[in-house]
Every structure is written in C-alpha cells, then in structure tokens.
C-alpha cells in the first residue's frame, strides 16, 4: 500500500500571507497560429499589465519568467521598452506550476528591498512554431533518454497517451465514466462561451459531440485534450501597502504552496498513479491563508486534459478521492453552481493553452468582478498549478 509519505513532499515556504498583492494584469489575444514570436507576445502582455497597474515600464524593477522557455527576460524587457535600469529577476516564474509561485518569489524580493514592482510574464507561440516542428510539448519529452529508450519505442508517448493511461486507471479504480469526463469538457466550453477572450468563445459542445468525437488515445478523445495556442499574459505584484495607492482592487496573496512527487516527470512510474502533487501543495497554502475548502469561491487548475482537472479537484480536497466523476457530472463545477465554480474562463481545454498564466489572470478578474462567467461576490480565488512532478497552489482574496 502506497502512503502519502512514500511518493512526495511539500516544500517549506515562509508565511507571506498579506504581504503582497497582484495589482495589474495584461493579456494578449489568444489565438491559433498567429505568426508572432513568443517575445513579441510577451512584450505585449507586459505592456498591458504595466498599464493596467497604472505604472510606467521604469517602475518595474523585478521580473520573473520561465527559464525553460526564456522568451521574455530582462534583455527583452529593456529592448522593448527602451529602458536600462537595474532589475531583480528570477527564471523560476512564468507559467505552469510557476504561475502560482511567482508571487511568492516577488514577495521575497520585495521583503528584501530588492524590488518594488515585480512583473511575471509568460508568452507561448507553440501554435505558430508547430508548423515548423520546433518546440512544443512532445519534443521536449522525446529528448529525455529514459523516455527515448523505455517509453517512446513502446508507443507510450506523448502527453495524450500518458494521460489516457491515467484516465483508464481512474475509470478502472473508481468507476469514472466517459460521460463524467465529458461533463468537465462541456462545463469548461460553456464557460469559454461566456468569455470574450477564449479561443472557443463561439464554439459550443454537447455531450453527443463529446461522445461521438474521434479517439486520440482511447479512452481519451479529442475533447479531453487541449488544443495548442498562441498567446500570453503577465501580472504585476507589489507590496500590499503600495497596492493600496494604486487604482485597481488588489488581489491579495494569502497562501502559496508547492508540492513534489518523487518520480520526476515519468508519469508511467508515478507511485500514486491517479494523484497529483496537489496532495502536498494544497494543505500548506490553505493553512497559510487560514482558509478551508468551503471558503473557496472560484478554483482554476492547470488542465491540459480532463483527467488532470478531476485529479486536482480530488487532491485539493474538494471531494473524496475517486468521487470527482460524479461531482463533475452533478454540475458542481459550473460557474453558477454555488458549489465549486471551476476554470470559469474555460481553462486550457477551451480558453487557451497558455500553460496556466491565464488561470491566474482569471482569478484576479473574478476577484475584481469583471470575469465573463462571473461568480457573484467572489472573495477567494485559488489557482492549482501542475507540471507533472510539481504542483503549486495560490490563494488570492479580494482585499
């Protein structure tokens, strides 16, 4: 029997509850192949976030970005804005799980006096790059030698196959049905239909369409899987004290968590096969914030596949392990359910595959009361980030 202690752990984080807030958000258009570079997309997102915060580019003296996809770093910032001031920076920001932990890094830099206004930015242009087969989610994996020798030759590749195997095991262990996975896809599509920025704002999805869709990797069908997109977003974090002087309602950082599984990026060898490291990340974030699951008004989670949504909803404690299928089918994830409004912008599945950065933006919009599928009186919004071996949890509140 695998116990929690066997397969992962939480990172030890300092208490940053109430120290910083997100005061500016910026998004580019989210599209299919745009012909733009990630650096151009990142610059536009940065510009808009800085303007939304009511700041000038020279006020931004901290930058967090993705070291793995270093498309918009300090050099690109200065080149775009024509600035040359000193900037604190960290390559441990950007999207995916790090979209949830970047505010923690900002809190540290601000507390140490190394920065006042920290921009986190994440652009992606995989839809454009895919036509030339450079970059993209599968290629990164195919280069790892263990996958190249023990997985790819056996057809266990790429991500749709990994997650189809987890989906199958969830169905076998817990009786989860295709209709229940379909409920996730359809709910998120309905949210996208209410969100003007969503790639799928004009395309509806019915259960009949879901069940009749082509299988990519049975049991995973077309609508269980997110499309590839171009787009990016950015947000500005500053001290709560400074935030009170700025124009926007601050989205206050109340809790941050970070959890890891022991098997790295090898999904085939995950000890707790149908679980995510949210098991380790969420408790610390909720404890730091002083909240329980019942306090959460909106949840957004990194959702490349329907199964990743269901696993995280379970692992974050919103329902018992194995119960997420019936939970989703009951309508609990709908924005107007009064239960657990989930990925209210449409998520990676139906909003845009920009790797989680838009999920954090959606949390801020919900707290400001300006989301497309707005949840009434949203006071607490939570982001669950996921990158396979790592999960993050970010708790934001309205003031």
């Amino acid at each position: 029997m695998t116990t929690a202690a066997d397969w992962g752990h939480a990172a030890e984080l300092d208490d940053v509850n109430g120290e910083v807030a997100i005061v500016g958000i910026g998004e580019t258009d989210y599209t299919k192949a745009s012909g733009r570079t990630a650096a151009q997309i990142g610059a536009e997102a940065a510009e808009r976030a800085i303007a939304d915060a009511g700041l000038e580019p020279r006020d931004v003296d901290g930058l967090t970005f993705s070291g793995a996809f270093a498309d918009f770093g300090v050099a690109e910032f200065h080149a775009h804005f024509g600035t040359d001031h000193d900037m604190w920076s960290s390559p441990w920001g950007g999207g995916m799980a790090w979209a949830g932990t970047a505010p923690y890094l900002a809190a540290g830099a601000i507390a140490r006096g190394e920065a006042r206004h920290v921009l986190n930015v994440f652009p992606v242009a995989w839809a454009t790059q895919r036509s030339s087969m450079t970059g993209g989610p599968g290629e990164v994996h195919a280069q790892q030698s263990l996958k190249q020798n023990l997985e790819v030759p056996f057809g266990f590749f790429p991500q749709p196959v990994y997650f189809a195997s987890i989906m199958r095991r969830h169905m076998l262990e817990f009786g989860t049905t295709r209709e229940q996975f379909g409920a996730v896809a359809i709910t998120l599509r309905e949210h996208a239909n209410r969100t003007p920025s969503a790639v799928f704002r004009d395309k509806t999805l019915s259960l009949e369409q879901y069940l009749g869709a082509p299988m990519l990797a049975d049991p995973l069908c077309l609508y269980d899987s997110c499309p590839i997109s171009d787009g990016g977003a950015a947000y500005v974090t500053t001290s709560l004290e400074r935030a009170r002087d700025l124009a926007r309602v601050p989205a206050v950082v109340r809790g941050v968590g970070e959890g890891y599984s022991g098997s790295g990026g090898h999904w085939a060898q995950q000890r707790a096969f149908t679980s995510t490291p949210q098991v380790f990340s969420t408790p610390g974030a909720f404890a730091m914030a002083g909240i329980t699951n019942d306090d959460v008004d909106v949840l957004t989670c990194y959702d490349p596949f329907t199964i990743v949504s269901l696993m995280q909803v379970e692992d974050m404690g919103f329902c018992a392990k194995g119960e997420s299928g019936p939970f989703a089918e009951s309508g609990a994830l709908r924005f107007d359910s009064g239960r657990l409004p989930y990925n209210t912008h449409g998520g990676l599945l139906s909003h845009a595959y920009v790797l989680g950065i838009a999920h954090v933006i959606e949390c801020v919009k919900q707290l400001r009361g300006v989301a497309g599928a707005q949840v009434p009186e949203c006071e607490v919004a939570v982001y669950g980030g996921y990158t396979g071996h790592m999960a993050s949890t970010l708790v934001l509140t309205r003031s």
């Binding site: 790819v152 749709p160 196959v161 189809a164 199958r168 082509p214 990797a217």
Partner: protein
C-alpha cells in the same frame, strides 16, 4: 533541438543506463536492475539506489509474469513511425516480483481490446520491434500478451 539519431524511435541500445535491458532481451530474457545492498528493484534504471543510496546495482532475471495495470488504444499516430501501426495497444504492466516496477510495453495478440480487464495476468513475449520509417533495422524487446505464461 531535434532528435538526430537516425534509428529513432527504436531504442538506443548503446545508452549505458538501459543497454543491459536490451542486451537481455536479445537473449529473450527479461532483466531488471536491483540494488545488491537492499534488494530494491531500481526502476527506471539509475546510477544509485533511491532507497539506500548504494551504487551497487546488478541486472537480475525476472519471471516475465505481470499484471495489466493500465492500457491505451492509440488511434492517432503521434509520430510518423506509428502511422502504419495504429491502432495499437500500449500498456503499463506491473511485474509480479514487485508491482511498483511498471514496464511500458505493447500488448500483443489482442483480438478485442474491449475484453481487457484491470490487473489481468499477462506474460512476456519477445518480439523484434521494427518501424516502417527505420527500414532494415530492428531491436528485440519484451512485449506482453494476456494470460498466464505458456
């Protein structure tokens, strides 16, 4: 950076970490690395034992009996090499010696995937792995078939 090895997606049988796996398969043997200090199977292969840290690891023969942990019927060809193969069944099988050791493998001779069941007994069958995109090359690998060993 693209993969330049001209026999991809055949395994690289010279990669030191996994070469013994394919050398054993060439003899129709299934071997898994095991820590000689504490007896843990070290899977995936690693230079040191994740349990006790020992670097004394030897490849040992296992029975080839396993259970079907999960499977996927791949219908979209995610690589050009798979285009002439789809649909096929890729699976994770859990070894009888230690179910924590899961092999990625092909499930072969599956007449009807609808009858596959969780944790069904499976056994190893050695086959030559070939891809239409890598003409004239093959690597002997362990695949698995449903049922107790023959």
């Amino acid at each position: 950076m693209a993969i330049t090895r001209d026999d991809f997606p055949l395994p690289d049988v010279h990669d030191p970490l996994t070469a013994p796996f394919f050398a054993a398969a060439a003899r129709d043997a299934l071997e898994i690395p095991r820590c000689t200090a504490c007896g843990t199977y070290v899977w995936y292969p690693a230079p040191t034992c994740p349990e006790c840290g020992s670097g004394e690891i030897e490849w040992v023969a296992v029975s080839g009996r396993a259970t079907l942990f999960t499977w996927v019927i791949v219908q979209r060809a995610f690589l050009p090499a798979f285009e002439s193969m789809v649909p096929f069944v890729t699976a994770l099988v859990a070894l009888d010696e230690d179910p924590a050791v899961r092999l990625c493998t092909y499930l072969v001779d599956v007449a009807d995937p609808a009858v596959l069941t969780a944790n069904a007994p499976v056994h190893v069958e050695f086959r030559d792995l070939t891809f239409a995109t890598v003409p004239g090359r093959s690597v002997r690998v362990p695949m698995f078939a449903v049922g107790a060993a023959s």
